[in-house]
Structure formats: structure tokens, C-alpha cells
């Protein structure tokens, strides 16, 4: 034993009140047994550099799109004398074939693409969650029938169908959202159904039923809140897919109609001028790529972080 420590101990021992019963007051800091799911998420996000980059990128793109009206240029203002110009101090990304400021058009295009992406994600997530929860929870014949419906929807060549429908309707943002949403809820439904089936056997659901809770109550208070992590993962991937779908449709000319334009329709326009100014295609194309990639990466990171870990 270190003599120094022994001396200090001796001093303590000699104190008058050393051996008196202690007043209860000292509280050890309560041990935290597990951290919550969001804390774990934050930690794994911090550790994954790529995820941070993607998150920042997305924030920048979304913010820029929101602030589009602040741009000094009107996206529809034509200036045929200045068409297909390269980047300059006045026009960051130059002008397109009608002399319109490309940067501003890209920002406004982003508004369309992102809006369609987010709202169709909402449609598919809501429909898919409700469908999957009811199907998984009730089971039996109802489940069978509902899953067959999912199978049918999934076997339909959705892209072609969307094109056909779009050629009959006059596509506005709302119709785009609804149509894309209708053909993308199936993946969410399947994931949600699988989780519901495993969740409904868990003991806390048993306990709720024991308490007298009805089916609706159990589904909305116990099952759906416990699926939020998976739903979020499905949602982020759904946004990515929706943006890609919208861009593809607009590129083919079946998406948003003029004067509204999205990144996809900018791409379509840029096609014919690809020899003169390839950047016209590169700008919107890169934006689509970065946005879709970021959503996918974040979705992946989220999935890894929210995966149930082995607990002792």
C-alpha cells in the first residue's frame, strides 16, 4: 500500500465523526441503463462522415429552393439576345436556349421536384402504413386478400401506366403527387405488415389487450408508434424514388407542363442543345443525382442505426 495513501486514510479515520452513522443524503447518480433510440441515432450520424455531408447537402438544396423568390432574376424572363451564354457574374450558371437565367430556373425547378417528391412520399407512406397495419394486425383471410391486392399493384408496369394516365389528364402538381403516390405505397405496406405481425405478438401488446384495449387503440397507440423508425427509413427511400420518377416523367415530356418546370423538364430541354452547351444538362442532372443519393444514403444510415441491437 502506498504510504501516502495510508497517511491520508489515517487522518480520515482519526476524524471525530468518521464512525458516526451517516445522514442519508448522498445519492449516487442513477445509472442510465440504455440510451434512447434518437440518442443512438445522433451518435451514429456523427460517426458517419458521408451521412453528415449528405445531410448538409440536402439542407443547402432545400433551403436554396425555399429561398428561390429572393433571386433577382425571373425564371421565365426571356432574353433571346443572351441565349446559351456561359457562366458569368450576372448569371451563375449561364442562360438556357431562351436566355433565361439557369440558376434561378434550377432553384424553381428544385421547388417542383422536391414538393412532388415529399408529398408523394406522404401519400405512399400514409396509405402504405394504414394498409400494412390493418393487414398485418387482422391476419387471416383479410390479410391474404389485402396482400394479393399489393401483389397485383406491384405487378402492374407502373411507369407505363402513369404515362398513359398522364396523357389523359392535364398533369398538375397535385395529379403528379397522387399518381406517383398510388404506385409506390406497396413497398411501405409490405415492410409495415411484417413489422406489425411481429409486434402484435410482443408482450406489451398482450398486456394492452389484457387491460381491455380495443383493436383500434392497440394499432394506433402501440403498434404504429413502434414502427416509426422503419417508416422513416421507408419514407426517405420513397422520396428518392419519387424524385427520380418525377424527373424521368418530366424528361419524357409526361410530367409537369410548361410554364412550370422541374429538373426533369430542364433536362429534356437541354437534350437538344447538348452539343452547344453540355452544362445545361449537367446542372439539373447533378442536382437530381445529389438529392437522390443523399436521401438514399441517409435512409441507409437510419436503417443501420435503428436496427434492433443485441441487448444483454
Amino acid at each position: 500500500m502506498n504510504p501516502e495513501i495510508s497517511e491520508a486514510l489515517l487522518k480520515e479515520v482519526e476524524m471525530d465523526d468518521a464512525f458516526q452513522p451517516a445522514q442519508k443524503g448522498r445519492k449516487n447518480q442513477e445509472a442510465v441503463y440504455e440510451r434512447g433510440i434518437w440518442y443512438n441515432l445522433l451518435i451514429s450520424l456523427k460517426e458517419n462522415r458521408l451521412a453528415i455531408v449528405c445531410l448538409i447537402l440536402l439542407c443547402v438544396i432545400i433551403l436554396a429552393s425555399l429561398l428561390a423568390p429572393l433571386s433577382p432574376h425571373d425564371p421565365d424572363a426571356m432574353n433571346l439576345r443572351n441565349k446559351l451564354a456561359g457562366p458569368s457574374s450576372e448569371h451563375f450558371w449561364g442562360t438556357d436556349d431562351l436566355g433565361r437565367d439557369y440558376f434561378t430556373r434550377a432553384l424553381y425547378g428544385g421547388r417542383v421536384s422536391l414538393t412532388v417528391g415529399i408529398f408523394s412520399m406522404l401519400v405512399s407512406v400514409v396509405v402504405g402504413t394504414l394498409f400494412g397495419t390493418i393487414s398485418g394486425y387482422l391476419g387471416g383471410t383479410v390479410d391474404n386478400l389485402m396482400m394479393r391486392a399489393v401483389d397485383i399493384f406491384m405487378s402492374v408496369p407502373s411507369f407505363l401506366l402513369i404515362i398513359i394516365i398522364n396523357s389523359f389528364l392535364s398533369p398538375s402538381m397535385i395529379t403528379m403527387v397522387v399518381i406517383i403516390g398510388i404506385f409506390s405505397w406497396m413497398g411501405v405496406a409490405r415492410i409495415v405488415r411484417a413489422e406489425t405481425m411481429s409486434l402484435k405478438e410482443r408482450e406489451f401488446v398482450l398486456a394492452a389487450r389484457n387491460m381491455g384495449a380495443g383493436n383500434l387503440e392497440i394499432m394506433f397507440r402501440h403498434i404504429i408508434p413502434n414502427m416509426v423508425p422503419s417508416i422513416i427509413v421507408a419514407a426517405s427511400i420513397s422520396i428518392a424514388r419519387a424524385i427520380l420518377t418525377e424527373s424521368s416523367l418530366s424528361f419524357l415530356g409526361f410530367g409537369v407542363k410548361l410554364p412550370m418546370s422541374s429538373w426533369g423538364s430542364m433536362l429534356q430541354n437541354a437534350q437538344s442543345h447538348i452539343m452547344d452547351n453540355p452544362m445545361l444538362a449537367l446542372y439539373p442532372g447533378t442536382l437530381i443525382l445529389l438529392t437522390v443519393l443523399s436521401f438514399n444514403v441517409l435512409g441507409d444510415v437510419l436503417r443501420n442505426a435503428l436496427e434492433p441491437k443485441m441487448v444483454k
Binding site: 468518521a18 464512525f19 458516526q20 452513522p21 448522498r26
Partner: protein, 359 residues
């Protein structure tokens, strides 16, 4: 100077000076997690004689399983056996040895059986192959020889029709049988030390009795030393020669079996003994419950870690960690109540500090 000698004279079962098979000194093990350094084991000293059983008793989180893993050399990153830890076996400090030495030691000299046999056994290999594997690695036996020995071993651990069963897979055995298979694998190379980590916790009580009988028989026959890790004091009563009670990563009381049961000197040990109702005791006797829970392993602790939950806590307990007080027959306790200045009536022996002077 108050302290306890590092070594002490211990007489073994027949009163003869026994030789130490393995000695652990100042073992410290930490796990590096993103939340901080979790100090699971904070300085543990014990030794096991040949042919003897040491029981390490404690609740979950006290560090007993980590201690066992350290003695087997199974601590991997993010875990770390800290510098200054000594695991003395066969004249060498195993803590400093390279992996090659550990491989010879593990399975050959020292074997371990686990709580969950289903998880510890390879589900894709037949039971015979798993036993034979152990023999082929350590004793360099040929396959045919090894399989024959495997059959013999299965018979020795009490599995009926061993010649049929060596070709079966672990999932075809019941819980108790699987535990016997694990014992057979562990004993294949006649190790000198067997570490049993909660071997019967997951078993029914009648099967538990069978497994404990088996372990006792095997110990009598092969003179293997056993380190038995458990939280069940009843299991320990019949088997252990020495008992180490762990709390918060340290051994807070250590002694012969009888001393711990009949002359315990630490409030925690005493509470453990009285928290469980005895089958032959008064049915109406209130159980002694220890309020609260052990403190967080991440945080540094001032004073005795049990102070907050101890009903006999004194001021000095919250300020300084108690030193180790030694008594006869190697009984040592880490508690301020053993200091001569501690007076008062307690349900267990205190105040009669028999301190050994520092040389």
C-alpha cells in the same frame, strides 16, 4: 497502518499447505464504449488451489463473468485487461503472454462451460465432432482415436447410449443433456482448471441437481479445480471450498465457505443471505431487501460503492473506500464496520478488526 497482506497463510482442506494452481492479482478490466470507459473489474485478487472449488458470487453487473473471461483470455476489443493485472499460472503471468500461449492454455489447461449451452455449441457440427475437435487440437490425437474418446466421455458425463448420440446435433439434446455435452467437451483434455459460468441458471431445479452431482463426482475423480460463477448461494453451499463475493467490480468479502455462510462480516453478504427465503426456514419471516441498485459503472465513486444502499452506512464510508481487513483462515472483508472504532450492534460480526500489520 491498516491493511491486509497480499499473501496470507492458508491451510487447505486437510490442514496441509496446498499448492496454488492459479493466482490472480490486481486484475482490472475495462470496456471502452462511446459513452466512456466502463470499469467492469476494479482490482480483484484471488487464488485457487488444486482440486478445490472457488465460487464467485454476485449479482448482474458486478463483474464476475468478465473476471472469468479474463482468466480464460477471452477479453477482446473494446475490452481491455489493464496493465498491472497478473494472472499467474504455471509460473507465468498469462496476462503478458502472446496469443499462442493462450491457445495452448485454453482448452488444454483451462476450460470453460457457459450458461447457455445452445448458444455455446456449434449447431452445424455433431456433438462427437465437437468433443473430438478439442482433443485433436490439444492432444494431437488422430480422428478415430478422438471419436472413441468422445464416446467414452459422453458415457462418463451420464448420457445414455453414447455410441448413438455422438452422431447427433446439439439441438437434438435437451437442456440438461446439452450442459453435460459442454462438460464433456471441457473435460476432454483433462484440464486442471474448469470455469463454470452460471452453468445451471437456465436449467430446471431437478436437472440442476443432476448437473451439480456430476460436477462433484468429476472433481473427486479427476481432481480438477473449479471456479464456479453464480448468483445462487444455495448452489454454492454444498460445492464451494472458498467463496468470493463481488460487488461493483471488486471482491468485498472472501473466505472459506463456512465463514461466509455462518460468519459473514459484510452487510451486502449478510443481505444476500437473508434476501432469499429458505426452504427450511420460517415461512413468515420477512425478506431482507436491499433498496436501490448498484451505481453506474461509468462514473468514479468516492468511498465504498455499497454505501448508498447500506443500512449501516457511516460518514467515513461515503468519504473513503474501506481497506481490506484480514481474519483467520484467509477470511478477508472490505468494510469500515470492521474497524475497531466502529461500535454498535449489527446483525453480523463487526468491530473486531484483526488487522495484519504491514511488514
Amino acid at each position: 497502518m491498516y491493511c491486509c497482506k497480499g499473501e496470507w497463510d492458508r491451510t487447505g482442506k486437510e490442514g496441509i499447505q496446498m499448492s496454488k494452481l492459479i493466482e490472480v492479482r490486481n486484475l482490472r478490466v475495462s470496456y471502452h464504449t462511446y459513452a466512456g470507459e466502463v470499469r467492469s473489474v476494479r482490482g480483484v485478487d484471488f487464488s485457487v488451489e488444486e482440486g478445490e472449488t472457488l465460487a464467485i458470487v454476485g449479482e448482474s453487473g458486478c463483474g464476475k463473468t468478465v473476471t472469468a473471461k479474463a482468466v480464460m483470455g477471452l477479453i477482446q476489443s473494446p475490452g481491455e485487461v489493464k496493465q498491472g493485472s497478473e494472472i499467474l499460472y504455471g509460473g507465468k503471468n498469462m496476462a503478458l503472454q502472446p496469443e499462442k500461449e493462450w491457445e495452448a492454455y485454453r482448452g488444454g489447461e483451462c476450460a470453460m462451460i457457459f450458461q447457455d449451452a445452445l448458444a455455446a455449441l456449434n449447431p452445424t457440427l455433431t456433438v462427437g465432432k465437437q468433443i473430438a475437435e478439442n482433443l485433436m487440437i490439444h492432444k494431437k490425437a488422430k480422428k478415430a482415436e478422438a471419436m472413441k474418446k468422445a464416446e467414452e466421455l459422453l458415457g462418463k458425463v451420464g448420457i445414455p447410449e453414447p455410441e448413438k448420440r455422438i452422431r447427433q446435433y446439439p439441438h437434438e439434446f435437451s437442456g440438461g443433456m446439452r450442459q453435460r455435452v459442454m462438460i464433456a467437451i471441457a473435460l476432454a483434455c483433462s484440464p486442471k482448471l474448469l470455469i463454470a459460468d452460471e452453468p445451471t441458471t437456465a436449467l430446471d431445479v431437478t436437472i440442476q441437481a443432476q448437473i451439480l452431482e456430476l460436477l462433484k463426482e468429476l472433481q473427486k475423480e479427476t481432481k480438477v479445480s473449479i471456479i464456479l460463477i453464480t448468483h445462487d448461494l444455495g448452489v454454492v453451499a454444498d460445492m464451494a471450498d472458498h467463496i468470493a463475493v463481488m460487488y461493483f467490480g471488486k471482491i468485498i468479502e472472501y473466505g472459506r465457505g463456512r465463514d461466509i455462510f455462518y460468519h459473514s462480516r459484510h452487510p451486502y453478504t449478510w443481505s444476500l443471505l437473508n434476501a432469499v427465503p429458505r426452504l427450511d426456514g420460517d415461512r413468515k419471516k420477512t425478506l431482507v431487501s436491499i433498496e436501490g441498485a448498484p451505481p453506474d459503472l461509468l462514473l468514479p465513486i468516492e468511498g465504498c460503492p455499497f454505501a448508498e444502499r447500506c443500512p449501516y452506512c457511516m460518514n467515513i464510508c461515503t468519504r473513503r473506500e474501506p481497506p481490506v481487513f484480514g481474519f483467520e483462515e484467509g477470511h478477508r472483508v472490505s468494510c469500515w464496520l470492521q474497524h475497531e472504532k466502529a461500535e454498535g450492534s449489527y446483525p453480523f460480526e463487526t468491530g473486531g478488526a484483526l488487522c495484519v500489520e504491514e511488514a
